[in-house]
């Protein structure tokens, strides 16, 4: 199968103790009553706030990559043909973690003696339109391993989140590539993006009692653009301007300037211009909400030359008076923090 799109990136993460989802079907399980994610797909797509494998798998060495392949390969060369079906393959590159146990295949984990770590790899992927909505149709391959006709039950991939994404099914340990089918949407769908995240497990300190530890697992996430065949590439969007009141200020200033020009008496005209400046400055005002005061809340923005001493003084004052808040210090009347 031709391989044309390759993503390689490394994610750093802090140490943590964790537990894995050995099957992608667990992404759909109810997290309140069982070990699941309630429909969250860890593909790194915007609809999941960019959540990917690294929200659980942490502290990996940072050496894996992932590639996306398509057949026909024209998907990447000429763009997708609306309505056409493509056979796709996600490949975990540099699958090194627990590779020494890969030859054991499914004979690993706590149910086999002697205990051997599993080479539990996984992935999640979805293809979204410019609005971040999944688009096109995902399915498994048929009994012959291609995309014609009915998809065979089972297989190495799982359709999750109401068939809007695809993930590992967890059937075969040591697996580092997954094949599935994608049918492109209709004409006019424009530029799409394939979001992919993959994990190289089990690099952690798995034990017979707890084989699914996720620390030490490497993760990788990336996005592949998919253009529509024959459609012009999207023009870059111009930068926005969020100067609240800016246009209004200029308009007010221009109005007062014209009035001043029309006025015959020079002194009055100057006053009019000055008044215009004042009014224009008010027109540029905007209500500042509490959450927009991040920089103003910084200690260096206080008027006091020594903000740390100021903070201490205020903290004592608040403790004495049973008051809370204001500025400069945290804590309340108990004096404890």
């Amino acid at each position: 199968m031709p391989r044309l799109a390759v993503i390689l990136c490394v994610l750093g993460a802090g140490a943590s103790v964790a537990h894995a989802y050995p099957t992608g079907f667990q992404f759909d399980s109810d997290p309140v009553t069982e070990d699941g994610a309630g429909g969250v797909v860890f593909s790194g797509a915007p609809r999941w706030a960019g959540h990917d494998c690294s929200v659980c798998h942490t502290n990996g060495p940072g050496r894996v990559g992932v590639s996306l392949e398509a057949d026909p390969a024209s998907l990447f060369e000429n763009g997708y043909q609306p309505g056409a079906t493509y056979k796709m393959r996600v490949v975990l590159e540099n699958n090194l973690t627990a590779l020494e146990f890969a030859q054991l295949g499914d004979r690993c984990g706590s149910q086999y003696q002697p205990y051997n770590r599993c080479d539990d790899n996984g992935f999640a992927m979805e293809i979204d339109d410019a609005n971040g909505t999944p688009i096109g149709g995902l399915s498994g391959t048929n009994a012959n391993g291609d995309c014609q006709g009915q998809a065979a039950p089972g297989g190495d991939v799982a359709l999750i989140a109401n068939d809007t994404a695809v993930a590992h099914s967890g059937i075969h340990h040591g697996q580092a590539a997954w094949v599935f089918c994608w049918t492109a949407p209709g004409t006019g769908s424009g530029r799409l993006t394939a979001f992919i995240s993959a994990v190289d497990g089990n690099g952690g300190d798995g034990t017979p009692n707890y084989p699914n530890d996720m620390t030490g697992d490497d993760t990788v996430t990336g996005a592949v653009p998919l253009l529509e065949r024959g459609a012009a590439p999207p023009m870059p969007q111009s930068g926005g301007c969020d100067a609240s009141g800016g246009t209004g200020s200029l308009a007010v200033l221009a109005l007062f300037g014209l009035l001043a020009l029309a006025w015959k008496r020079r002194r009055t005209a100057l006053r009019l211009v000055a008044l215009g400046v004042v009014v224009a400055s008010f027109a540029g005002c905007a209500t500042v909400r509490p959450w927009q005061k991040e920089k103003l809340a910084q200690k260096k923005m206080t008027f006091d030359p020594d903000p740390r001493e100021d903070e201490l003084d205020l903290h004592m004052q608040e403790s004495r008076e049973g008051s809370a808040g204001g500025y400069g210090s945290a804590g309340g009347g108990c004096g404890c923090n």
Partner: protein
Amino acid sequence: MLPRDTYSGLRVMGRSLLIIATCVGLAAAACAAVDNQPAPGAIAELDEASFKCAVEPTLIRDCSYTACHGNAGFPLRVYSIGKLRVGDMTTLALRTAPLTDAEHHANYLSARAFDYGGVAAEDNLILRKVLPVNDGGYEHKGGAIFTGLDDPRAVKLLNWLSGQSGLCNGGNL
């Protein structure tokens, strides 16, 4: 009959006692009961039952991952099945056991703590931080979790933060 000096001394003492009594009486009359007012930053008594059925599922589904809030060292610590647990987590069975009452209550306290300072429900950080920027969201390392203030999860959270109860029984969800 008392000697004249003794009689005079008693009269002076009686006058002094009268003055003292008058002062005490006036002082007592000036006293007023002082009530202990609630602390200005007191945390509201938010409904725990409503939290458990309307808010906690969102926290567990969207926030409890181990690199996120399913970490005992992070703010808004969330216990959930398969991830962070109270106590022994060394076996799969222990990790995947149902949440205990203590863990549910700890999740409630984690979320309720964000009400500190008497902040308005719509400005509460537990709601505000995870909104898109256009709705006032900011500074959440995990990005915008809710799609907006009309996101059903945000609506439930806002109703709970506003002090509503009965959210499990067809309340204003």
